[in-house]
Symmetry: C2
């Protein structure tokens, strides 16, 4: 039901003054609004999910952009599709008279590529409601659009259900819920919907520079990612960056008979193994010189923050089938405060039934280094190269030619170096405390506070240009099959996120 | 031209006495015979090569066996197709009155699998003559069967041209050449043609045991493999064995997000790298306990023998594009006297464009250990397992179950252990010296003497059962593309091998 105009005017007046006592009631009224409008909120999400949004489908992405612009306009935002060098951005603005703070709300509307064969439904863009987890044999609910009540354990399956269309629809529903109470946000709102997040947000930096004034804000709220597995509302103050490094160690120019030349021609798979082994001690500490440079010991307050995260390590270890973690004594949250050196892939000739008795001609490792705020990508890439050199390798950027082969006994090609920097804002800053307070008030209990989450989000690409801080508000279920087949959003998480976002709009 | 019967009778008489002075002329007369009969000798080889001989073609293998039996019968051998549990053997016998020595002549008639698409001719079983190396752009000679003269640099392309049908046809031609001079072999001859060499000669041991008396001999001459790259006639007194070992290091039960869990869940690709690195020092010496046990220092005579092999290390290094060998100071021949630990393949998740930001669930290495006479396969397999255990791994034979995962922090599956033992006979024994003398006499210059060749031949499978020594007589060009597309035999090597085999039949 639409609010009469005078309610809106009343709300617009309210925001010019400090938050009224009545705001204590806002969470409950949002919850009531959501309960009363479940069907139409979920229908709006399902309609959005039905528009294909993969990288290769430019027309589909543009249809998404147009639909999103219309959704923002319906909430009273001044919105447009903003062209970039690549996929367009969708931007929106809601100026609130008297507001002294401007929030930039970020989400993305593009999705990971799909392999339709792996999806247990007509297509990844045919939103499909189930009574629970597909893996648990949940039944499909074909008439969900006409059901009176939708259960919190139900899940809507479609590409981008969780990553990252649900937060956009939740934002729209939160604006509707406030409006229904005659409330406006307490901050000016700028919305930035990225269409290239899954492919690296490569056009975003230039667009931000070109339209800098339109994106100016005091704080960015970055809506992406899952809440803590405990299901509790979660606030994330930092993310790790990522740096992909490829290492190829070269052996003989061609594969050689392992009998005829074994012991005489060096084996690049063994050399690569020795090179990788030189990078970590047996307890998982990285030995690359300077790898941990600049990372200060944690303060008592930070230690407390990490300890308060309700991780269930034993349950995770059981789920993963491991009986020891990499660095005994380092909790999961502590582990996430440090950069990683992860061998994500190895390849050399063949194994198993296809193995042949040869000395391989090369061996390849793919490494991803997760970065923290203190360890910048370019410097880390150079440290990795320096380490390879220190092991006696001549480092090349391309296949070695004959002259290079004749000159250097050990040759490695090291690729990579772009990468995404990590990011972290101070959890004790005024704006961080305001966000924490707003979410605490919305639920009557403190959210899970994450100093640094393990994964990577393109936050530094924005904050490096714009200069204001960012806080991540993850909202979806952690078991959403993000980036995989059968991605889904649990309705309970989706409905809760409307409350969370509503609280932030009123903080 | 066939010899009149009385010449044959004369020859049969001759062999009862010590080798006559006239034997000094034998090499020259064999050479003359070959020169005069090039066309028919090559035609017989081409006809044999036209019969498909891959593992999967049982009917083709049997056609080969029948053709070979007929070829031996035409040379006066008592020959038959001998059934085994698998592909039949072809066996033949020529008893020579008065001979005090029996030679078992081994070759194999099966070939490696073929990928017809890689062959630059109608089929791998359409023998195709070229003026030289295909790789050098040699022209095809379609009318080679009617040419008066065949040039030594010409090559006949077909599967098994070198490996291993050429030696069989050369043996037949050598018998013909002797017969043309009224000569018989100076030893009793037993022929053993294996139809399963390329697939491991798995039926051979049982057949030998079942028909032990039929294969009894004083010496086995094993016709397989290439001569020294110098092209000089070559005698090989030992071969390395081979033991395939697979190692799988287990990580989490499923691939995990490298951001969410990096630094907390151990990485099996890194652990495998550390495990492999623990097996060799930087100078290529294997660190597995007991790896070199039982290998005595070389005697001065053995050192001389190795030094006399005319290896062109610089040319090989240039060809392979390497500027240093694995163990500086160890010559190629010295390297071949020791067992190897060769990583023939590595695999874990993906590299390159397909690399994903995950902690892999497992990492696999395929290793082949080339064995020498002193290092037996079963003991070496156990030493490898013991080494893995000594690095802190619980070694399993199958995928670890949840209970195993919960109990052991490091788990590795180690497979393999059958393997083929190495073999070596004493180059200074009477029979070894007789072989060396015969080949030296045939060419007027000493052959290349190889104490241990690097590759593996199934010699120990025969000598372990039969008890007599074996010597390998390789005859084909080293650049024959053995086991690959476009296998070929250089006619010069083929014709020379008839002289070599003739000399051995008269030794």
């Amino acid at each position: 039901m639409r609010q009469p105009l005078n309610s809106v005017i009343l709300a617009m007046a309210l925001i010019a003054v400090p938050r009224a006592q009545s705001d204590a009631q806002v969470p409950a009224t949002i919850e009531a609004y959501v309960a009363a409008h479940q069907r139409e909120i979920v229908a709006e999400l399902a309609d959005l999910l039905a528009i294909p949004n993969v990288r290769s489908d430019g027309a589909g992405l543009r249809r998404n952009a147009e639909a999103l612009r219309a959704m923002l306009v319906r909430r009273g935002l001044n919105a447009e599709v903003l062209e970039t060098a690549g996929v367009p951005l969708v931007v929106g603005e809601l100026r609130v008279p008297g507001a002294t703070r401007t929030l930039l709300l970020y989400a993305h509307y593009d999705g990971q590529a799909v392999d339709p064969g792996g999806w247990k439904q007509a297509t990844p863009f045919t939103p499909t409601m189930r009574t629970g987890r597909l893996e648990d044999g949940a039944a499909e609910i074909t008439d969900f659009r006409t059901r009176a009540t939708l259960e919190p354990d139900w899940r809507l399956y479609a590409r981008s259900a969780s990553d990252d269309k649900a937060p956009i629809v939740a934002l729209c529903a939160a604006l509707d819920a406030l409006k229904a109470q005659g409330l406006a946000p307490t901050s000016n709102i700028r919305v930035l919907l990225d269409g290239e997040e899954e492919s690296g947000s490569s056009s975003l930096g230039a667009a931000l520079r070109q339209h800098r004034a339109r994106f100016a804000a005091d704080l960015m709220l970055f809506f992406d990612g899952p809440t803590h597995p405990s299901g509790r509302p979660t606030i994330v103050f930092g993310v790790r960056g990522n740096l992909g490094i490829g290492i190829t160690v070269y052996g003989p120019k061609m594969e050689l008979h392992s009998g005829h030349y074994g012991n005489w021609v060096s084996n690049p798979a063994m050399q690569l193994s020795q090179l990788l082994a030189s990078m970590k001690d047996p307890d998982g500490r990285v030995l690359v010189k300077g790898f941990y440079d600049g990372i200060a010991p944690l303060s008592p307050a930070e230690e407390t923050m990490l300890r308060d995260v309700p991780d269930d390590s034993a349950a995770l270890m059981k789920l993963f089938g491991i009986s020891r973690t990499e660095r005994p004594g380092l909790s999961l949250q502590h582990a996430l405060q440090l950069p990683t050196l992860n061998v994500r892939g190895l390849a050399s000739a063949d194994v198993g039934a296809g193995a042949r008795t040869i000395i391989p001609d090369m061996a390849v490792a793919s490494i991803d280094v997760r970065l923290v705020k203190e360890t910048l990508a370019p410097a880390m890439a150079e440290k990795m190269r320096a380490h390879v050199r220190a092991q006696g390798y001549h480092v090349v950027d391309a296949e070695p030619d004959d002259a290079t082969r004749a000159r250097y006994p050990r040759i490695a090609r090291v690729t990579g170096g772009g990468g995404t920097n990590g990011y972290r804002t101070d959890p004790s800053s005024a704006v961080s405390r305001a966000v924490t307070t707003a979410v605490t008030r919305a639920f009557g209990t403190p959210p899970v506070l994450i100093r640094t989450m393990g994964g990577t989000l393109p936050i530094s690409q924005i904050t490096d240009v714009m200069g204001f801080p960012a806080i991540v508000i993850p909202t979806v279920n952690f078991d959403n099959n993000q980036h995989s087949d059968n991605e889904n959003i649990r309705l309970g998480h989706f409905f809760t996120s409307i409350r969370t976002i509503g609280a932030l709009l009123r903080m």
